[in-house]
């Protein structure tokens, strides 16, 4: 049954219960009538009848509405309303601390690395906002190629703006620089590290040319080797072929897997022998490390 909305009225005057007859004649239902004192009477009528009853006020009877009690009581009775308010407040408080989406802008080519950082920092949609955005920003700045990073919170979105550097820093190799071929060291330029060979020395494949440390006094400091070397290589291969040209080609493919550029070949000769052709190629191999 729908609860009626009532308004509480206070009637003041001599024998205020006589007013009940007038109200009755207006065919207005009256509720909860209580005589407070000899000259005061409290009664309730439906909200829609309030104006009609107030119009009965005259010099004998004073009628005034007492809103506070009924309305507050009615409001407190509305359980659904209070549950709704509580749910709304809870959602408002909680939603503010959860990140509903993560938007990364400007990370061309570095999405994978940045995504790895976000995964390690446990930043993803529907997770809590990171407490320390500076830490996240610092971690993203640590990714090679990132020149600038800004982490901002916009409502329920975490906006990560990244600016990449036009000159990406190459990854540095650590360790010693070793010869890749057997030959004579003709040039060695060392910007960082300690050279182990001199110009004109013979070097073997795998032999250390530059070590990854420097010694200053009694202190040995590990460094990244930055060096450049040229090694003259003399290759002699005996191949069976129909002609010297074919023999040369076969020798190139056997040794290098293809032809060397002509500017790299310093000498070449093909001599016929009893086993075929002896192909001799002299070229310079160039190698560098962190250069």
């Amino acid at each position: 049954m729908r609860e009626r909305r009532l308004v509480r009225l206070l009637v003041q005057g001599i024998s205020p219960e006589r007013l009940l007859l007038k109200i009755r004649r207006l065919r207005i239902p009256i509720y909860n009538v209580k005589k407070v004192s000899a000259t005061k009477l409290l009664l309730s009528v439906k909200t829609k009848d309030e104006k009609k009853v107030l119009a009965l006020e005259n010099s004998v009877y004073k009628i005034a509405a007492v809103y506070k009690d009924e309305r507050l009581k009615n409001l407190l009775k509305r359980t659904g309303l209070w549950i709704g308010i509580a749910c709304f407040l809870a959602l408002t408080l909680l939603s503010g601390s959860f990140c509903l989406s993560v938007n990364v802008v400007g990370a061309e080519g570095l999405e994978h690395e940045i995504k790895e950082v976000l995964t390690e920092e446990k930043v993803k949609p529907f997770s809590r906002f990171p407490k320390d955005t500076n830490r996240l920003s610092a971690r993203i700045l640590g990714v090679d190629g990132v020149a600038f990073c800004s982490v901002k919170r916009l409502g329920t979105t975490l906006l990560i703006e990244v600016v990449t550097s036009p000159f990406q820093k190459a990854k540095q190799e650590s360790g010693d620089m070793k010869a890749e071929v057997f030959g004579e060291l003709t040039e060695l330029c060392v910007l960082s590290g300690t050279s182990q060979k001199k110009i004109g020395e013979k070097v073997s494949a795998g032999e250390t040319l530059v070590c990854g440390y420097v010694i200053a006094g009694e202190t040995k400091t590990e460094v990244f080797v930055r060096a450049f070397a040229r090694i003259r290589v003399r290759v002699q291969i005996t191949v069976r072929a129909q002609s010297p040209a074919v023999a040369f080609a076969k020798a190139c493919f056997e040794e290098f897997g293809g032809f060397l550029p002509s500017e790299e070949i310093e000498e070449k000769s093909v001599q016929e022998t009893t086993d075929g052709y002896l192909v001799t190629i002299v070229y310079t191999a160039v190698q560098s490390m962190n250069f």
């Binding site: 007859l21 065919r27 239902p29 009256i30 909860n32 009538v33």
Partner: protein, 89 residues
């Protein structure tokens, strides 16, 4: 209730009492029909004016729970309901 309907069949209620009727529970509330007006109202005494007579209701914490078109419901502890002497009309 069947008992009431049987009693009322024998008595022509509307003619005899002109719609006036009192139902009450001792030490409980009461329901009154045909009330023309309220003569007196307090927590201990309520005087109901009917067409043919006045009825005095006494008790404790009495209040009018509802009053509409002659139908009146009294809440509280009714101790007695009596016709006021000399009030027959």
């Amino acid at each position: 209730m069947r008992l009431y309907s049987e009693i009322f069949k024998k008595i022509n209620v509307s003619e005899l009492f002109e719609g006036a009727r009192c139902d009450f529970f001792p030490f409980g509330g009461g329901y009154f029909q045909g009330v023309k007006s309220i003569g007196e109202l307090s927590e201990e005494r309520i005087l109901l004016v009917f067409k043919r007579a006045d009825v005095l209701v006494t008790g404790e914490n009495l209040s009018l729970e509802k009053y509409f078109e002659g139908d009146l419901k009294i809440a509280g502890k009714i101790r007695s309901v009596s016709i006021v002497e000399g009030s027959e009309k």
